[in-house]
Structure formats: C-alpha cells, structure tokens
C-alpha cells in the first residue's frame, strides 16, 4: 500500500518535470531562437500564402516543374510513410518500370536510382543533382527557356553542403528549385510583356 502512495507521488513529480517543465522550456527556447523553423520551415509566396515546407516534398506532375522522388503515400504530409516493399517483391520492379516510363529518358540514358526509389517517409524534399540534370530538357522545353538558363538555376540551388564537402553527391531541394524557376519565368514575363 505504501508502494502505491509513493508511486503516486513519484508520478506527480516526474510528470511535472518531464511533461510540463521540459516541453515548456524547449517551446520557449524555440520561440526565442528559431521562430520560423519551429513552425515547420514553411515557405510562402509573395502574397504570403503558405506553399509548402522547405523540408517536405510535394506532388509535381506538370512538365514545367522538376519532379521529386516517388512517394508511397502520394506526398500526404498528414499520413506519411514508405513503400515497405522488399527487393524481391515484383510490385517494386513494376513500380520502378512505370516511374522510368513517365520520366522517358533518352535512348541509352540511365535514370538515377533516387528517381525510381520511394523514400522512407514518402516526403524526401531532395533529389540528386544527376536526377535534376536528367529532367532539364523537359523543364526547359515546357518553359521556353534554354537548357543553360535552367541549369544555372539548378546549380544555384544545390543543397546538403556537409555531404558535398565530404565528397558526396550534391542534392537539390525540389520545392525551392521550382519556386525559383517560377520567379524567373515571372520576371521574364514582366520584362517582355
């Protein structure tokens, strides 16, 4: 019986420390030091509307946009997840075949593996630089821009500085890149009405 009473006292003590004081302290610190990213690193357009999160992939299907990696949850940011398909599952091979068909690489061209592999969260915001280069011709044609113009935007938006400095492959944040392209197209439309 004394055990029950002491357990109750310990319960009150630990819940006040762990579930009240601790999260409140971290919330306060986050508000002070990271007021933007603590809300989920949201990106807004010029009108102030939220267009997505810098950290999360979103669906892109139009040819004028760079496409992210496949998502097992169709980029649903309120029910995320991976495919959980094993390498020996024929469903995975079939899904990869469809992804390749949609990307329609040139003859003899190889598709970077990240563009046919779904990420674990289904929300990977990045693709590899090679995966962006593969999509250059399609995006440039759809926007009536030269491939050099688009490529310079791509190279200006490479991410993952640590991985690059350690000798890894550069990554591109798909949403940030597409936002930059929209701005570029908008500017040239303003300049040549």
């Amino acid at each position: 019986m004394r055990d029950v009473i002491t357990s109750m006292r310990l319960f009150v003590l630990t819940i006040l420390v762990c579930s009240v004081a601790y999260p409140v302290a971290i919330l306060g610190f986050a508000e002070l030091m990271a007021p933007q990213s603590r809300q989920g690193s949201l990106l807004r357009d010029s009108a102030g509307t939220v267009v997505g999160s810098r950290l999360l992939a979103q669906s892109f299907t139009q040819p004028r946009y760079f496409w992210p990696r496949p998502s097992a949850v169709d980029y649903n940011a309120s029910a995320t997840g991976g495919s959980n398909l094993s390498p020996t599952n024929p469903v995975l091979a079939e899904r990869a075949r469809q992804s390749i068909e949609r990307l329609s690489p040139g003859a003899g061209e190889l598709v970077p593996a990240d563009l046919v592999s779904a990420s674990g969260s289904g929300m990977d915001p990045h693709i590899t630089l090679a995966a962006a280069i593969l999509q250059l011709p399609r995006v440039a044609a759809a926007r009536n821009l030269s491939q050099q113009q688009v490529e310079s935007v791509v190279r200006g938006h490479t991410d993952a500085p640590t991985i690059v400095s350690l000798g890894g492959e550069p990554l591109v944040n798909v949403l940030e890149l597409n936002l930059a392209l929209d701005q570029l197209t908008q500017q040239s439309a303003d300049n040549n009405p």
Partner: protein
C-alpha cells in the same frame, strides 16, 4: 570516403562522450561520498516522495517498488489513450484508440519497446504524445537505469540494492533530463519543429492542398533517442524530415542512440570498482557492433535486386531511404538501433537488401550489443554468468563471479532469463506463420513475408520497437500477443538478474587467489564472445535460413 566518415564520426563521438558520461552517471546514480549538493538533492527527493523513499531495499522490495510504479505507468497511459478525445491539446480532434491498440501501445511504451501499431500524426493528440508517451519515454528509460544501478550495487557486494524511488528520481532528473534538454536545444537550432499549433495547410505550386502535420517534435525526439525508446512522433519515425531534417540531426540522433548504453558499462565498472572488467565487456560489445556496422554498410551499398534489367544507374539500395543523411547512414543506424534496443529507424528496414535485413534481426536476437538503457548490460551479465559457469565446468572448479560462487540456483535463474527470449520469438513466429493471424497481414510475398513475422516477434521480445513496417500489425491478435510479449520480455530479464545478485550478495566472498578465473582479461572476453555467439547461433540460425538467407538465394 563519405561511406567511412559517417559511421566513423558517429561511433567515435559516442565512444568519446560515453567515458565522461559514465563518470557523471556514477556520481548521479550512486553518490559515494557526502557532497553538499548531492545531499540536499536527496533530502528534497525524500521530502517529495515520502518515507518509503528513505530506506535502502533488499532485491525483493526493490522489484516490488519497480513493479508498483510500472503498473501505474501502464494504467495511466492506457486511460489517456482511450480518453484523449476529452483531454486538452487536441487541435486536430483525434478520437480514442481502440482498446487492443491502446493496450499494445501502453505495454509498448511502459516496457521501453516503443513498437508502434499506430501512426503518431494520424492517431494521437499532442496531450497523448507529451503526457502519455513522452512521459513514459523518460520513466521507462529511468527504470532501466535504476535496475542496472541496483544490479551493480549487488555485484559490488551489497545485499541492500538501494531505493527504487530514489534511483528513478535520480535517473530522470539528473541523467535523462539534462541530456534531453541539450539534445532538444540542438535539434531546434538545426530546424526541427517545436510547436503546439495544429496542422498547417499549404497550397502547392500546382494548386493542390497539402495538410502538414507538425507538433512538439524536438522535445519528443531528444528523449526518444537518448532513452533507447525509439517511438517516433510521426509514423515513419526518423525518416520523416520533421523528425530528422538534416545530415547533422541524423549524426546527433545516432550518437544519442548509442550514448547511454555505452556509458552504462563504465558506470557499472565504477560502482563495482571493476573498471578493467567493464573494459572487457565494452570491448566485446564494441567488436560485435563494429562487425555488424561494416557488414551492413557493405551489403547495403549494393543496388536493390528489384532494378535488375531496368535502365537505372547503378547505385546503393535507395528504396526506403532519405538522401540527406548520406550513403552509409541507413546501415549504421539500422545496426545501432537494433543492437541497443532503441528501435527508431532512419530507413525502412522492410526494404533493406535481404542479407542486410538479417543484421538488425541478429542484433535483436543477441540483444546484448550495448542493448537498451540499463537492460542491455543486464542481458550481457546473464551471458557473463553463463560464460563463467562454462569456464568453471571446463577446469573443474566451482565457478565464481566477482568473488561470489555461482551455483545451481543462480544458473537456473540465468537460464530462465536466457531462454524466455528465444521462446517468445520462436513460439510466436510458429503460431503466426501457421495461422491467418500472421499470413493475412503480410505486405511482401515469399520468404520476406516470413521475415516480417520473425522481425515483429524479435522486436517485441527484445523490447526494440522497430519493424518490417509493411506488416499490417494493427489487428487484435498482433496487438495482444506482442503486447504480452513486450511486458514479459521486459520484466523477466530485469527481475531474474536482480534475484541472482540478491542471491550472490548473500554469500560470503571468497578471496581471489592465483587459481581464480579472472574476468578482466582478453581470454575472458573471448570466452564471453563465444558464449554469446554460440548460444545465439544455436537458437536462431534456422530462422535466419528460412527468412533472409532463403530470400537472398531466391534472387537470380
């Protein structure tokens, strides 16, 4: 180059931090001398907790207090999860969990397993996340630290193992809380969300609506990793960009997985005044761990067999992985999280190459490679006693461990703890592989389907919590069976060893002589490693053959 840097950075940092942390944990958990600051802490603790927290306890009293508090943990969390629709901090109006799912979840977080048959962002309110699950992530880890502290005191020769309530308060406020605060602060600075606002709604560039679930993630993730809990805020755990936004959050999270389990070994060495013996144990664990990391990294650098014959550039297996963590981050984490019974994932284990998938399973089968906070070392001590016994039998001498004779009673208890684990895994797999309970819940065909069942039971029995997550495991049979196994797999391996040290400490110490079998030598390390590997192989090789190895052989 990067392939080697990632694991090297993670492992070297963990080892370097574990030494001073072990020293600190000894100070926090088992104050040797009267320091003024420590004395006032103890006074305050006893004042708050009452007279029951004042006196040191015999092993039976210690276990009873532990069970009493753990029962309260379980009941409270079950009630919160089934009534969360009436509780505050529920901006998305989440409904209650179904009873068998609530039972499974309460058992899972009470037992420090964090197997998740729900998906956090879909099913839980912020109140449930913070007051039910995050609270358990602190106090279940603290229960493990308390247990290993009591065990160490017993092995140091004290029949009184300390006071559970004091130990739990120390572990929570002096060990876990400061570390979690440091980690959460770093995570916030690296861009992790920390908010009580509900989901954000975005209009995508193509005009669609995207609902973005978020929450108090940074505080949750810090203790999830440090306490070898592993239960994620979001369904896909640390693959989710909100739960692991950058290369550096991944490194820090992986260090946090290893840190306390490593430091516990040094704390044990200090309390028992056997640092050399602790060094041998650390060496055995580290050797196994490094072998596992190297194998997993090499196997996972191979392309997935699914893309054979397709026009895909040759690259490592990227299915279920995020790009921002770098190439070997997934393999390193997969081994770390299963060796330590953490159970969080930064890549989907179901999609690992078949033989890579064997390594996390082997980590859970052995369950001693650093192991869960506190309990990992306790599991290894079972093998230590077995190894001492085997060595004693071989030379025809009564086996001794730390100057106490190991006799029939201790060996019986050790075998109960040792054999409960494979019994749960093999028995559970047999039943579910033969019935629709298991076969109708699979996500993948063939041997991999069997692997999904094996993995789920291994994860529950080892109190790990990771999964081959394709398995449709939110069914009543899965919820009830794994819930029970998690509870038994938690408390049998804590109580039996405490009974052993209680029994050992009651014996008279025999003086160490030249004939004593020493436990602080390389030779003992080899014997111990042999005991671990032989017992592990004998029990689990058939499962390895039928699951991952058969799957690998099926690839043409």
């Amino acid at each position: 180059m990067l392939e080697v840097i990632i694991p090297a950075l993670i492992i070297a940092t963990s080892i370097a931090l574990a030494w001073p942390l072990g020293r600190y944990m000894r100070w926090a958990m088992d104050p040797a001398g009267p320091g003024t600051g420590r004395l006032s802490f103890e006074r305050v603790a006893v004042g708050v907790l009452g007279p029951k927290a004042e006196h040191t306890q015999h092993w039976k009293r210690y276990c009873l207090s532990m069970l009493s508090f753990n029962l309260l943990m379980f009941v409270f969390v079950y009630l919160v999860l089934t009534t969360q629709q009436w509780l505050p901090l529920n901006p998305e109006n989440k409904g209650p969990l179904e009873p068998s799912l609530a039972f499974n979840t309460a058992a899972s977080f009470t037992s420090n397993t964090n197997l998740q048959h729900y998906s956090g962002e879909v099913s839980l309110s912020y109140f449930s996340q913070l007051f039910a699950l995050m609270w358990l992530q602190f106090v279940s880890a603290a229960t493990g630290i308390a247990a290993v502290t009591a065990l160490s005191r017993g092995l140091a020769g004290h029949a009184q193992l300390g006071n559970f309530y004091q130990d739990l308060t120390r572990a929570t406020t002096l060990v876990l809380l400061p570390l979690a605060t440091i980690w959460a602060v770093l995570m916030v600075l690296l861009g992790m969300p920390m908010t009580l606002e509900g989901a954000a709604v975005a209009t995508t560039l193509e005009g669609a609506t995207q609902t973005i679930a978020r929450g108090p993630v940074a505080a949750f993730v810090a203790i999830k990793q440090l306490g070898t809990n592993g239960g994620g805020f979001f369904g896909p755990n640390s693959t989710h960009p909100f739960e692991n936004p950058t290369f550096w959050t991944n490194v820090l999270s992986n260090v946090a997985i290893l840190l306390i389990p490593m430091a516990t070994v040094w704390m044990f060495g200090r309390i028992t005044h056997r640092l050399r013996h602790a060094g041998v144990l650390f060496g055995v664990m580290l050797t196994l761990y490094l072998c596992f990391v190297a194998c997993a990294s090499l196997l996972e650098s191979q392309p997935t067999a699914a893309f054979d014959g397709l026009p895909v550039a040759s690259a490592m297996n990227l299915e279920g992985k995020e790009l921002r963590f770098g190439p070997t981050a997934g393999a390193t984490w997969a081994v770390s999280t299963t060796a330590t019974s953490n159970g969080s994932v930064n890549a989907m284990h179901d999609s690992l190459n078949p033989l890579t998938g064997l390594l996390p399973m082997a980590g859970m089968w052995l369950n001693v490679v650093f192991g869960g906070v506190g309990v990992g070392l306790i599991n290894l001590l079972i093998f230590v006693i077995t190894a001492v016994f085997l060595a004693g039998m071989m030379v025809g001498r009564t086996p001794e461990y730390l100057t106490r004779k190991v006799e029939t009673k201790e060996m019986k208890l050790a075998l109960i703890a040792l054999l409960a684990h494979p019994l749960f895994i093999l028995g559970g797999t047999a039943v579910f592989a033969a019935t629709p309970w298991g076969t109708e819940t699979l996500n993948n065909p063939g041997s991999h389907g069997l692997s999904e069942i094996i993995y789920e039971f291994s994860s529950a029995a080892a109190n790990n919590g990771s999964g081959f997550e394709g398995l449709g495991d939110n069914t009543v049979p899965w919820n009830v069976s794994t819930g029970l196994i998690m509870l038994l797999g938690r408390f049998i391996p804590i109580i039996a060893p405490l009974a052993i040290v209680g029994s050992l400490a009651a014996k008279r110490a025999t003086p160490e002589t030249a004939g004593t079998f020493r436990t602080d030598t390389l030779l003992f390390g080899v014997v111990l490693m042999g005991a671990v590997l032989i017992v592990g192989a004998l029990l689990f090789l058939p499962l390895a053959m039928l699951g991952p190895i058969a799957e690998q052989l099926s690839i043409r």
